[in-house]
Amino acid sequence: MKRISGILMIMLLSITACSTDDSGNGSGGTDTDAFDRGAMLAHWADNIIVPAFEAFEVSSQSLENATTAFVNDPSATTLSALRNQYRDSYVQFQTVSMFEIGKAEEIGFRRFLNTYPTNASAIESRVESGSYNLELSSSYVEQGFPAMDYLLYGLGNSEETLQKFTSGENAENYRNYLLDVAERINSLTAEVATAWQGDYRDQFVQNTSSSATGSVDRFSNDYVMYFEKFLRSGKIGYPAGAFTGTPSPENAEAVYAGDLSKELYLTALEAFQDFYLGRGFNGSGTGPSYKQYLEYLDSMKDGADLNALIQNQFDAIEDQSAQLDGNFKSQVQTNNTAMLAAFDELQKAVVLLKVDMMQALSISVDYVDSDGD
């Protein structure tokens, strides 16, 4: 008995000693090198997020400029230029929408810029009265891209639209409202971009903590939530009526412009995927990413190659999108089955991202900082 426990003691002692005191020869002769989350955060911030916001800031400035040009001199030419710029900027917005963290989260960036369907009758009454405050949180259904969508495409064809802004009733109010909406998009964007160019970048990158408040944990929660709630539900699920059983075409994104919705969807999908793969925003090569991180973690595990599963699912989603019409509103009205099929493919990705990836990264899907077992 004495000998057994003696052996046991030595065993336990040596295991404990190895486990705790063996730091001297840290990197030498290891089979796996530690994955550097700090480097991943830096790559995310410097090569993806900040450039994406800088590009979008340029775009939102152009949008404001084009709007100013239009309201100062409403004509077929300036309207056409503004519509084009609106489409460009809305598409560009899809590359930053998923980064709802830091300043963006604080000011409700996505909420103000892209809550749809917009409330057309509320906009009309704002225009009529000429009194409104777009900073109120109650007003997010009256501004952003969906409001511009309504003002630029929802008032009729080009001539009718032009007429509303020139000789129609409340034409001046229409012009003011449109400009206010464009300015607000631009100022909110500038606010977020400035924050990233300033202190927030360092704050984000340096918070490498593995706790629920660390950048990787918090960002990953936001990132996956974006996919589930905004890509899957917002762009596809709600218009297709996946949640209600009844299609509601009016819930499509850019419903007035019509043919823009699929482009917005695909751009968002691609931006999301590029981020997953760690592709630099300006085509500046790839860096540390979820993909690399999962490969690193998978290398220790037997079983499924999670990264391959996720990438295959992204491919399946893209393949499926070939069946979709450029206009989701009419897609839903003519052949909703294809939309529901898109939803099903997205749903599979949600499970992989939210359950499998989050588990592999050991990130819990909540911010509750409670005790575990």
């Binding site: 426990s5 730091s23 796996t32 037997d302 079983g303 900082d369 077992d373």
Partner: protein
């Protein structure tokens, strides 16, 4: 045989170890309650949620709105009174009831530690923990006893021993030992620990931690019992629990276990601890050393001994109830709780509920965040009894909203210990056809893998 049991029951030991245990236990519990309060968890866990997951048979235990604070206050104060040994019997009963009530309010927050505290405080109701170094004994000389029956101290050792040993047995499974799961998932995420972070990335460390954790749990009770290994074992207890505290968010539990393990030491150690405390607080300790031996009256013995015997019998048998269920325990979780299966698996799920009108076929999906907190949703998504209760709650909710012919289905995926997620609940099954019970839940889809071991 009966003679030797009788002989054992008549043995005495010093009351000091139990007094120290009572004192530290009370302080720890008070600190736990205070910490819980200050972290804002009363609000977050028991007041903010709209819906609470009940234990089967305890559906009547619900949070009390703002009076929940009062409940925690009562619990905290009773913990302090236990520490002081003031009106001990009343205090420990109050503590047991209030603490257990708190834990029964929502099983979302279930932790083995909390269950441990509940049953330990139940046991302490029957122990003469206030006969030495307590306010009760200080006030009433007739309550002072220097010696108490030995089994009183041993019963706490036994309970601690069961917790450790069963936790060790539960680790004897192929996932834990041969796949180093779930530590292989958990440890690499601790990359930011100074000096340990890099080590946590090493595969051999995952295995070393898994195996040594299993060995630790299995053998530590015996190493603590045996005098020659006791000091070493206690150092192991400290190292082990401090390490788990550093690695995992497990709150007060490591400290509670470290302090509890003191009970294994010789009474002389406890006398020294009490002497030290007496010096600081200028308490006259001598008056407690009466030399008197506390003996339970015959009627008390007739009640207490059977109660404690049944208590321990239940403790020894209850963790094995999982054997009565078909299927993989980790997958179905039937018989998983209350069995010292601590930090044993990494499980996550995704559950999307569908409400269907059985007549018209009209359906819609439920947004779980309308009803559950993120924490509740997370826990619900991989536990069948949660899913079932929630399904019934949803049906009730939508019935009140005017929906008819309600059927509830769930599309549910669960990932266990790094395996790819797979369907968990049969999506074709109307959950309303099932009532919660201790019977096997037939709507759980098979695991289609095997985890060997206990």
């Amino acid at each position: 045989m009966s003679f030797s049991i009788q002989h054992y029951l008549n043995k005495n030991t010093e009351a000091a170890p139990l007094a120290v245990f009572r004192l530290f236990f009370g302080i720890m519990m008070f600190a736990s309650i205070l910490r819980f309060w200050l972290n804002g968890w009363i609000e977050k866990l028991y007041i903010a949620p709209k819906f609470f997951f009940s234990y089967y048979g305890f559906e009547w235990v619900k949070p009390l709105g703002n009076y929940t604070y009062l409940l925690f206050l009562v619990c905290g104060i009773s913990a302090l009174l236990v520490a002081a040994g003031y009106k001990y019997r009343l205090a420990i009963i109050t503590f047991f009831l209030s603490f257990t009530y708190i834990e029964l309010m929502d099983k979302t927050t279930y932790l083995n530690h909390y269950y441990f505290i509940s049953i330990l405080s139940f046991l302490m109701i029957f122990l003469p923990a206030n006969r030495y170094f307590s306010v009760d004994a200080a006030r009433k000389p007739e309550l002072r006893f220097q010696y108490i029956p030995r089994w009183c101290v041993d019963s706490i050792k036994l309970l601690l021993g069961i917790v450790y040993f069963y936790a060790g047995l539960a680790k004897i499974n192929s996932d834990w030992l041969f796949r180093a799961m779930p530590l292989k998932i958990w440890l690499p995420s601790k990359y930011d620990l100074p000096f340990l972070g890099d080590l946590m990335q090493q595969e051999w460390v995952h295995y070393a931690f898994s195996w040594s954790g299993m060995l630790y749990d299995l053998f530590i009770p015996f190493l603590l019992l045996w005098k020659r290994t006791r000091l070493f074992a206690f150092l192991m207890v400290i190292v082990f629990h401090v390490l788990t505290r550093v690695l995992f968010p497990i709150g007060m539990f490591p400290y509670i276990m470290i302090v509890s393990a003191l009970i294994f030491f010789d009474p002389s150690v406890h006398r020294r601890i009490l002497a030290f405390i007496s010096r600081i607080f200028r308490i006259g300790m001598a008056k407690f050393d009466t030399g008197r031996k506390y003996i339970f009256s015959a009627t008390r013995r007739q009640i207490i001994l059977p109660v404690i015997s049944v208590f321990f019998l239940v403790q020894l048998l209850f963790p094995w109830r999982y054997l009565l269920y078909p299927g993989e325990l980790f997958w179905t979780e039937e018989g998983f709780r209350f069995s010292w299966r601590v930090m044993l698996m990494e499980k996550a799920g995704y559950a999307q509920f569908k409400i269907v009108d059985g007549k018209t076929g009209r359906r819609f999906y439920v947004d779980n965040s309308d009803f559950l907190t993120p924490f509740q949703e997370k826990q619900m998504a991989f536990q069948p009894d949660f899913i079932l209760q929630y399904a019934h709650f949803l049906a009730e909710h939508f019935r009140k909203d005017g929906h008819e012919n309600i059927e509830v289905y769930v599309e549910n995926y669960v990932a266990l210990n790094g395996r790819k997620s797979r369907p968990y609940i049969d999506p074709e099954v109307n959950l309303l056809n099932f009532a919660d019970s201790f019977k096997h839940k037939t709507f759980i889809l098979p695991f289609e893998d095997e985890i060997k071991g206990l």
